[in-house]
Symmetry: C2
Subunit: 581 residues, 2 copies
């Protein structure tokens, strides 16, 4: 490919609305162009990366036995009503009416449509297992689209759906997809982790996120450097940090803490370690009658150590909180605690409150909490002596660096990651809602066991850049770079020798199947080099009269500080060897 | 590919709503599956064809110097308001509001978005010419979707847009696309014609439709078998069929024609050739004031020979009718002609009427027309003697088979075709509306000259089948067949020899880059053969114990009545030779 036959459009400055580095660099490198909020044109340079990402995904999905089809972007609402998602989903589901006033959605995913296909096409156990996938345009009307392709509204996703006879089969399908995803992410050349994720109401442990490691990632991922353990922060189990509860050593006392409403302030004032304090969080659950009116409300006090954070996903697994909870109102808090927030605690309640203690809190002795009195805290608090044992003891906090690994193999570390893939066992959630059955060996109808497996194709670009960039621009892994090699001739128009050498190398690399671009735009060397560094092409070859005369052309990898000098006759072989390394 | 790892789903009967053969066969062969009116899932077998069509298009577009990008499916209404299409287009433009109540459209084409890209990115004459294309999902909310992928609502289209400095450049871009389209359609292996088409208000002669020839096609295409002339029926020029007007030979007379209101009936009653009669068609044009009220109406009488048909596109080019016309109301007709339709003519008018005679009618003598009196016609009518010369003489009729070719090289023939591609010079229509300018050599802003070039990707499938099928199913051209070869082993599970031979041939063909499927489903031979004939795979190899023993395996082309017997060791080479032939 010659640059003059392609389209290159780089910018010195990123537009002001680009907040994160990948967004800035994709705009500057001319990979995307904003059309509207969260809606981008994929410009030729960016589309080449997308196509390479898609090709790797397609190759490995096919290898894993999945079969590609293509489901529509615009889908009839009827199917979405069958599963209830048409009504349950918020405005992120883009709804549209046709000329006959019939409802449609612009697909954010395709569980409904693929289940509809399966219930019609997969009628016998002999046709199972089957895994259908497509790579298609999706739309989610995000409340606040941002970060370029990282949280856009229109995006490209690969979504696969497996159908099995039973859970054992579904587990095998899941594992095949898990293995395919590892191959896919290996081939992308990105540093990533497959982390266990919450399965929600489905249960079981068949849910993994594929997270691309990046300091700028929105997700916290937890792993054990000395074992295989890895989970996202929602799921990672926090073991109790104390082996057992110590005997009380202090008497219960009230300490004045004027204006100190946070654990950190109280600990500092009292000269105690933060780990001696306990944080109070007040939730509420409502019981509704059939008409949907609230007939009873329960107030809950959740206690976590002062240096820990509540994990709402874990809280949502506590018996009594499973069907949803909310934060209590100020009125409810004052009614039950006789005090405004900032000084709350489990002792001296005005009305009964359900007390849930984190595992670590349940083993603490001589701790500090609010006195249910403004500007006062209690010290030397002890379970059993000063208050009853908690109603519930549960893991309700986020793990922190240094916590023991749940597998007993070391301590936990935390990294930031960007979720770009998710494999998930769905069970019969959709097959039940849509009555997707097959005839089993005995001729009886049985519900299909399903799994779903997504990869955010366009998001991969953002994640790859967040992980791989420097002050000069993007650093693409070779497998997904828009071009693998940029030939930069100096004086292509002026020097017959330079032109001949550049054209010959271009042809030699093309013939070898290398994805090469010859920059024949006639830019000055500085601007030309800066463009290819910004765009992030892995290898650059500079062809100049001087280099040819001296028998030493410059080949420089994008991450290298210095160029290698290579004899002109050997440049082709040198570059090919680098790319196959 | 082994069939067990793919997905094959054939039907004995087509669903009742499938009206045309391509729709029926695509449903029966499991290529598409209906999701809603005009909305289809592309099943694995159909998607393979789509991908092959896309690959050929992409290859030739790139070769012609066009650059691929990807524009969004959901597009902000603002751009569509700039060109006025948001308001002007009817309900076939699918409009949608986002969560903030902002207007969007689901793209039917992308002129607005690509022009927006061009006006931002192409700032200098040095960047021109440039041709951007994408292959993307489109949506048109058709009033009556039908014929499967031939007139669906959601479909895949390749649309390209060229930007040039001037008309000479745009003409070159147009010609490059025209040549690329010919290569594309040649590679599809379809019989087609590039026919000149109407350019509407743009003018000039840079508009061609690529029509796939099929008896079932909706379009009439006109060509000259002894020259290059080809045009669609809207455009094809009708020359006058008479060299000059003969002198009057008859006197004007009134003939009673009770109940005979068509030319054919009148000719039969009077014992005259149909070509002696003249048909009257009454149109009206309204003059509006600034408030949009009608301030004046002109009634027009268009005259074509009794055996000819009015061509409304041509009529729309007559001075005075260019800004739109309508058919006259019965009241207007009675007011001007003093008679109801069926017996109208240009003689004895009650009020002034503009008379437009087709070129042939203007040269007729002694003709027959309505007498403006119920149940009566005039015979022996002659221009100049019985009525004034016509106000306008113009080509306003469709050509018919046997008409002289406008290029003087023979006579015209007519075929049916399916429009699957269109190349069109847009001029400054969009660049003017959206102010897409570039700086020319003198540093002054100038409007870009545009062209647009579409191919209906999914429609190609329907057109290919309409052209190539028989009573057993589809007959795909090899270049776009879902598979090129089907290996049909008889007793794959039972016979080790059959399995070994089938597996070996499968591998040999795969290694040679042949797109082959090995049918390991264990179907009985009859059902297996019927499936591959229905699906339309070009070559079939049957591997049986008997064939192996006798040293003669059966290779049969989809269009062949008999199989060729080929020695097992030579089957691979035989098939490869056939495919490369």
């Amino acid at each position: 490919m010659k640059a003059s036959q392609f389209f290159i459009s780089t910018l010195k400055e990123a537009p002001a609305d680009a907040e994160v580095v990948s967004h800035k660099l994709m705009m500057r490198a001319g990979m995307i162009k904003r059309l509207g909020a969260g809606i981008y044109n994929y410009m030729p340079m960016g589309l080449r990366v997308i196509r390479k990402v898609e090709a790797i995904i397609r190759d490995e999905m096919n290898r894993a036995g999945a079969v590609e089809l293509l489901m529509p972007v615009v889908q009839p609402a009827e199917l979405w009503q069958e599963t209830g998602r048409f009504d349950k989903m918020g405005p992120e589901l883009m709804r549209v009416k046709d000329r006959h006033d019939r409802d449609f959605v612009i697909q954010p995913t395709s569980e409904e449509v693929v289940t509809d296909i399966a219930r019609q096409e997969l009628r016998s156990y002999k046709q199972l297992p089957k895994n259908f996938y497509h790579i298609q345009t999706k739309f989610r009307d995000e409340r606040r689209p941002r970060f370029g392709v990282m949280r856009g509204r229109e995006f490209t996703m690969k979504d696969a759906y497996s159908f099995d006879r039973d859970e054992a089969g579904a587990t095998k399908s899941y594992q095949a997809m898990f293995a395919a995803y590892k191959r896919i992410f290996d081939r992308f050349g990105l540093e990533y982790r497959a982390v266990a994720a919450d399965t929600g109401a489905i249960g079981g442990d068949l849910s993994h996120e594929f997270q691309v490691i990046a300091e700028t990632g929105e997700d916290a991922i937890v792993y054990c450097p000395t074992s295989d353990y890895a989970a996202n922060i929602e799921l990672a189990e926090a073991l109790p940090l104390l082996a057992e509860r110590a005997a009380p050593g202090q008497t219960l006392a009230k300490a004045p803490t004027p204006g100190k409403s946070t654990c950190a302030d109280v600990a500092a004032l009292l000269g105690l370690p933060l780990a001696q304090t306990v944080k109070s969080l007040v939730l509420a659950t409502d019981e509704l009658n059939e008409a949907g009116d609230i007939v009873a409300t329960t107030v809950w006090l959740l206690l976590v150590r002062g240096d820990h954070e509540l994990n709402e996903v874990k809280a949502g697994k506590v018996e009594g909180l499973k069907n949803g909870f909310r934060f209590a109102t100020i009125a409810e808090i004052e009614e039950h605690f006789g005090c405004k927030p900032g000084y709350l605690g489990p002792i001296g309640l005005k009305k009964p409150v359900k007390i849930v203690a984190d595992r670590t809190v349940a083993r603490m002795a001589d701790w500090v909490c609010g006195a249910n009195e403004v500007d006062a805290h209690l010290t030397g608090v002890n379970w059993g002596r000063d208050l009853p044992e908690p109603d519930v003891v549960a893991d309700i906090r986020n793990v922190v660096e240094g916590d023991p690994s749940p597998d007993g193999q070391g301590v936990l570390a935390i990294q930031r990651g960007i979720e770009v893939g998710h494999v998930f066992f769905l069970g019969t959630k959709y097959s039940k809602a849509m009555n997707a059955t097959f005839l089993d060996e005995t001729g009886k109808p049985a519900l299909m066991q399903m799994g779903c497996y997504g990869i955010g194709v366009t998001r991969i670009l953002g994640a790859a850049i967040e992980q791989n960039h420097d002050e000069r621009g993007i650093i693409w892994p070779a497998s997904i770079a828009p071009f693998q090699v940029a030939i930069c001739p100096i004086g292509y128009d002026r020097s017959a020798e330079v032109k001949a050498a550049a054209d010959a190398l271009h042809q030699e690399l093309l013939d070898a199947g290398v994805d090469v671009i010859l920059d024949d735009r006639g830019e000055r060397p500085g601007a030309m080099f800066a463009d290819w560094e910004l765009i992030g092409v892995p290898q650059r070859v500079v062809i100049s009269d001087r280099g040819l005369k001296e028998g030493a052309l410059e080949v420089q990898g994008r991450r290298e500080a210095e160029a290698s000098k290579v004899a002109p006759a050997e440049v082709g072989a040198f570059v090919k060897a680098r790319l196959s390394a």
